[in-house]
């Protein structure tokens, strides 16, 4: 169990990464304990909006005790976050959730698949898999799906992995989604770590099953507490869950990353 806390974090930098997508570095103690695939709850100053916004940790810098968040502006909260400047403070809650099970990739051929705003949480993941730890994967590939040629973060993925790109409009890489790219490039793998929209995750689950691949999927749901108390953010599981014994796992604490075989999607 990680040591969760709600703390002020200092904005180190913020820049526009692509159309409507921001890249934010925060100095925070939370960085010490954060694993790839975990997320934080970010609070607004706007008092009309009281719930924390779940945002995945994109990268961790242990030396600077800092985390990087990459997010798309879609509503009140994210619009407010985009206004923050270096030196400002933001309230964040974390680290939350379980993160990707890096150990499952040990000695395996692993593919990281990200779609849209599901791309960011895979960056820290690919870095750790590539690092000289005893959990080193045999081979690390990444397949990232974008709407168009604004392939944010792809240059960074390229540093740590063999990168394939898919784009909805076909302007870069395979035209289509990440599964189309996987098929087109005949990418052979043992394990998939994926994050993205539900239809993409369903597709990956099916593909993985057909091809005898283990898949770990990071899910999204509306959240209130972020810490497992409110039972707002459940997903359907095949087996009875530990908490309520009703086949409802809590995405914020039992997830967000689940073994695809355990999910009833």
């Amino acid at each position: 169990m990680t040591n969760k806390m709600k703390k002020e974090a200092k904005v180190l930098s913020q820049k526009l990464l692509a159309d409507g997508i921001f890249d934010l570095w925060l100095e925070t103690e939370i960085a010490k304990d954060t694993c790839p695939g975990q997320f934080v709850g970010v609070y607004t100053v706007n008092k009309a909006a009281l719930l924390p916004r779940p945002i995945s940790v994109c990268e961790v810098n242990k030396e600077k005790t800092a985390i990087r968040l990459v997010y798309r502006v879609v509503g009140t909260g994210t619009a407010e976050f985009a206004l923050y400047q270096p030196g400002d403070y933001m309230m964040i809650l974390g680290p939350l959730g379980n993160g990707f099970p890096l150990e499952k990739a040990e000695g395996k051929k692993v593919v990281l698949m990200g779609g849209g705003i599901g791309v960011p949480p895979l960056l820290e993941t690919v870095k750790r898999l590539g690092e000289g730890t005893n959990k080193k994967a045999l081979e690390v590939m990444t397949v990232m799906g974008y709407r168009n040629s604004e392939t944010f973060l792809s240059d960074e993925f390229e540093k740590y992995s063999r990168l394939y790109i898919a784009s909805d409009d076909g302007s870069v890489g395979t035209k289509g989604n990440v599964i189309d790219a996987l098929k087109e490039k005949k990418i052979d793998c043992d394990v998939i770590f994926a994050c993205g929209p539900m239809p993409m995750l369903r597709g990956i689950k099916a593909y993985a099953q057909e091809n005898g691949i283990k898949a770990y999927l990071s899910l999204e749901e509306r959240m209130a507490c972020g810490v497992g108390a409110c039972l707002g953010c459940i997903c359907k599981t095949k087996k009875v869950d530990d908490h309520s014994h009703v086949k409802n796992a809590r995405i914020c604490t039992d997830g967000p990353v689940f073994d695809a075989d355990d999910l009833d999607m």
Binding site: K6, K47, L50, L51, R222, C230, H243, H245, T253
Partner: protein, 301 residues
């Protein structure tokens, strides 16, 4: 300085409790708050058997609050006793178990099962959840039904009973009186107010259940008014809740007539909140020379 309050013979170190369903059984917030610091932990509603709850989305944010339609997902009383009550044995804060059911028999079964559990100090009967179809809230919206279920529970319960009232009624005073007449040891209010949110871009309900319960600072004025009306209508203690976001809010409920208060949705905004409310009440008492928290109950003019 005395912060102790008494309800139905049970003494609480201070008047600050957790609102059912917003604090699990304390486990999830033990990272943030020393549970021993709280007057009581009030658990999530527990039924005779596990309940699955409603489909997602179950929560939605609204101005100054949130809607929830969890639908009382819970592991049932067996798991609850073996795991949650067991966990709470590590602490010596008081424990109030919130009980839900679909029929009177369901409620009675849970009440009987918990009656002999030493770790349980009181039972809070949720007859006011707006998010389950099968009747529960009907008990909380008709005074005859409330009287009936309360008296039947009182007959079997060895623990003091708190009836948790719904704000979705024409007269809260009448409901409070019905609970008292039927023998309730205390009442708690308010549960959530039924609300709705529509996503005008998707043309869909924000919650799969269509309606949900509104909670958070937005409902505080309604809650304070109802606590005031209810506490003047009955002689049993009232536990007040609805939008408490700080110690001032808690004191407002006490001045309206509450013996104890519960912190709900705002735990999600600030997981340390319950502890801060305890400290803040003490600070207020020191600054304004209140020797006994019981002396400011209902003193508003």
């Amino acid at each position: 300085m005395n912060t102790k309050v008494k309800i139905a013979g049970v003494e609480f170190n201070n008047p600050v409790m957790t609102a059912s369903g917003t604090f699990g059984s304390g486990m999830e917030y033990a990272d943030f708050v020393d549970l021993n610091k709280l007057g009581a932990v009030v658990t999530k509603g527990v039924a005779n058997v596990p309940w699955e709850g409603n489909p997602t989305p179950r929560v939605a944010e609204v101005y100054g609050g949130m809607l929830n339609a969890i639908g009382l997902q819970n592991p049932g009383v067996d798991v609850f006793i073996n795991r949650d009550l067991e966990f709470l044995k590590k602490y010596d804060t008081k424990v109030i178990v919130n009980v839900c059911g679909k029929s009177v028999e369901d409620y009675l079964e849970v009440v009987e099962r918990l009656s002999d559990e030493e770790r349980v100090d009181m039972l809070e009967i949720n007859v006011s959840c707006p998010n389950v179809k099968e009747g529960a809230i009907a008990f909380g919206q008709k005074k005859e039904a409330l009287f009936d279920i309360t008296s039947r529970i009182k007959k079997v319960s060895k623990k003091p009973i708190i009836m948790k009232l719904s704000p979705n009624v024409t007269s809260i005073a009448e409901m409070a009186k019905a609970a008292e007449a039927a023998g309730a040891d205390a009442i708690s209010l308010i549960n959530t107010i039924t609300g709705m949110k529509i996503d005008i871009y998707k043309r869909k309900f924000a919650l799969a259940n269509k309606t949900g319960g509104l909670s958070g600072p937005a409902i505080k004025p309604v809650a304070v008014r109802m606590v005031y009306e209810a506490s003047r209508a009955v002689n049993i203690p009232v536990i007040g809740m609805g939008g408490i976001a700080n110690a001032e809010d808690a004191i407002e409920f006490i001045m309206a007539g509450a013996t104890a208060v519960a912190v709900g949705a705002m735990n999600f905004h600030d997981p340390y909140l319950t502890g801060k409310v305890v400290d803040g009440i003490e600070e207020y008492m020191r600054n304004y020379n209140v020797d006994d928290i019981n002396s400011i109950r209902g003193i508003v003019e």
